[in-house]
């Protein structure tokens, strides 16, 4: 069982690599090196702040776009092209297929993030000519970004298990945007009254709380991240991704592949 999931994951990774998904790294590298050179010339004392902010935001956005655009096609494309027929007619359970796809996409994003992180550190070294202890905090921000990717992958897979790629993209991207403002939504729920309070509270807790994962600004200002937040975000991401994946499995287990 575990090996079948690993085979499916590794094939998903191979597909992403062969479809030149990792070419985005070139765009990322160009963006970052251009920004570092530019920032080095025009900003005084805040080069580091700008590079960290810009670099980590780019890592996050590039990853989200990849997660959504690959994730939405992971199941629906296989059904549409009927590649799934020859997989599911083997001793592969449907849930194994979904979980394998998830790990394949998550693996692609982790590798992608790894290379982008090297880019961020290289740009940082270019502008500040040295590393300081506080730079290690960037790793925490990168870890949170990866956790964010896990949630988005699972949501993209969930939508892909019952919807068309276009609708899945719309759903997943909308949830990403709303989730990025989840704290504001929660604050609004706290101020609202009556039915709207219930609705806003429900929505605020249902959408993924991506704002809790965004520590880029505070890290750029060398403010430490509490260990409790790391634990909380880890558990939250694992819980949310597991729930979304379970939903995807539940839907896919009962779906006719016409």
């Amino acid at each position: 069982m575990r090996t079948r999931i690993a085979y499916i994951a590794s094939n998903t990774f191979r597909e992403a690599v062969r479809d030149r998904v990792l070419y985005n790294l070139i765009a990322f590298a160009l963006l970052l090196s251009g920004a570092a050179i530019l920032v080095g010339q025009i900003s005084i004392e805040i080069e580091k702040l700008v590079v960290i902010n810009l670099g980590l935001t780019a890592v996050s956005l590039f990853g989200v776009v990849i997660a959504i655009f690959i994730g939405i096609g992971l199941v629906s494309k296989e059904i549409e092209k009927r590649t799934l027929y020859t997989v599911l007619s083997r001793p592969v359970r449907r849930w194994e297929f979904i979980v394998g796809k998830f790990f394949g996409l998550a693996g692609t994003l982790v590798v992608n993030t790894f290379f982008m992180a090297i880019g961020v550190f290289a740009a940082l070294f270019y502008v500040s000519h040295k590393f300081v202890r506080a730079d290690a905090l960037i790793l925490v921000a990168l870890y949170f970004i990866v956790l964010e990717f896990l949630i988005i992958c699972s949501l993209a897979l969930l939508f892909s298990s019952f919807s068309s790629p276009l609708l899945s993209a719309v759903f997943a991207f909308s949830l990403f945007v709303i989730g990025s403002f989840a704290e504001d939504l929660r604050n609004f729920a706290g101020m609202a009254h009556g039915v709207s309070r219930w609705l806003a509270t429900g929505a605020a807790y249902l959408v993924p709380n991506f704002s809790a994962f965004n520590v880029i600004t505070s890290i750029a200002h060398e403010q430490p991240v509490a260990g409790q937040l790391v634990l909380q975000n880890t558990l939250y991401a694992l819980f949310y991704a597991t729930m979304a994946l379970s939903g995807a499995v539940l839907i896919f287990e009962h779906r006719d592949l016409k």
């Binding site: 090996t3 079948r4 085979y7 499916i8 094939n11 191979r14 597909e15 062969r18 479809d19 092209k81 009927r82 590649t83 799934l84 027929y85 020859t86 997989v87 599911l88 007619s89 083997r90 001793p91 592969v92 359970r93 009962h254 006719d256 592949l257 016409k258």
Partner: protein, 313 residues
């Protein structure tokens, strides 16, 4: 023992915007396929052949009924390690090479690593793709993809193989090779269940066939039984370019092609024709009883079904 036992499998899809209108794709189907036979599942396009195969593969879920494959419930995942499946007009991961694809499917089928390498090499040879094993599938023609499809279906040495329209997209040589492969599978003791609408393939290959039309089973039997209706006529073939007058006088229906004459005569006139050919010093090639072709049987079944449907309406 039966390799496949279909016990009233049926499928109704809900169609329309609100998915409330039922559309029956397969009426309750009862069918048994014996181990070691080549079984043809015949029907025109849209008859329910692919639906039946998808039900057996667990790709769609039945509205009612069940099935047993190789003595076990068809939903039992362990059954799938022993079956191979070629879907209609297969499409594969086109970023993989033929070798990588077979390797991947071998992994998913649980073929141990050591055997896998040998199996992949052997199957690539069997389907004639050894020379292009390193080429990505996106560069393959339709016929080559069909060969890959056949390869992946037999890769893990299954006991039972399902082929959905296996000759589709193949040139005459390719069709011949697939026929040979099916016969080879039979010699190896495997059961082959294949759907087709090409009757000559079924007639040449199958031990038994079933005919399905509009989701309903119309007939099952051995090809010889279905085509054994002797019409009291014989076909006589001899070398020659002309029909002797004495044979013409018998009212024979004659066709001359190149240096051969083919005559359909009443079987009671057989001796008279042979005598006439002796007298004319013509060389006799064959005398065979005229049987109903599978095509004639098939068409008759479908026409009968259409007529009874018309009467019911």
């Amino acid at each position: 023992m039966n390799a496949i036992e279909i016990l009233g499998l049926e499928k109704t899809y809900l169609v329309g915007f609100w998915r409330k209108r039922p559309k029956r794709a397969l009426h309750p189907l009862h069918l048994a396929v014996e181990e070691g036979e080549i079984f043809g599942f015949l029907g025109p396009n849209g008859a329910g052949k692919t639906t039946t195969l998808k039900l057996l593969m667990g790709l769609v879920f039945p509205t009612a009924g069940s099935a047993r494959i190789l003595g076990r419930e068809w939903t039992d995942p362990s059954v799938k390690a022993q079956i191979g499946f070629l879907p209609e007009q297969p499409y594969f991961y086109d970023y993989l090479t033929a070798h990588e694809l077979l390797e991947y499917y071998g992994q998913l089928s649980g073929v141990p690593a050591k055997q896998r390498k040998q199996r992949v090499e052997r199957v690539l040879d069997q389907v004639g793709l050894h020379d292009v094993q390193g080429v990505q599938l996106r560069k393959f023609s339709k016929g080559m993809l069909q060969r890959v499809g056949i390869g992946q279906a037999i890769l893990h040495d299954p006991k039972l193989v399902f082929f959905d329209e296996p000759m589709s997209g193949l040139d005459p040589m390719g069709r011949r090779e697939v026929r040979d492969l099916m016969e080879q599978l039979k010699h190896e003791g495997k059961t082959v269940f294949f759907s087709t609408h090409i009757l000559s393939d079924a007639e040449a290959l199958c031990d038994r066939v079933a005919i399905i039309h509009k989701g309903e089973l119309r007939g099952v039997g051995a090809v010889e039984d279905l085509t054994s209706t002797v019409q009291g006529k014989v076909e006589v073939i001899w070398h020659g370019t002309q029909v002797p007058a004495s044979i013409k006088a018998l009212g024979a229906e004659c066709h001359v092609t190149a240096d051969r004459v083919r005559a359909i005569i009443d079987e009671r006139q057989q001796d008279a024709v042979i005598d006439a050919l002796r007298r004319e010093r013509q060389r006799l090639i064959a005398i065979t009883p005229v049987r109903t072709s599978l095509e004639a049987y098939f068409v008759e079944k479908l026409q009968r079904a259409e007529t009874s449907a018309g009467k019911t309406a």
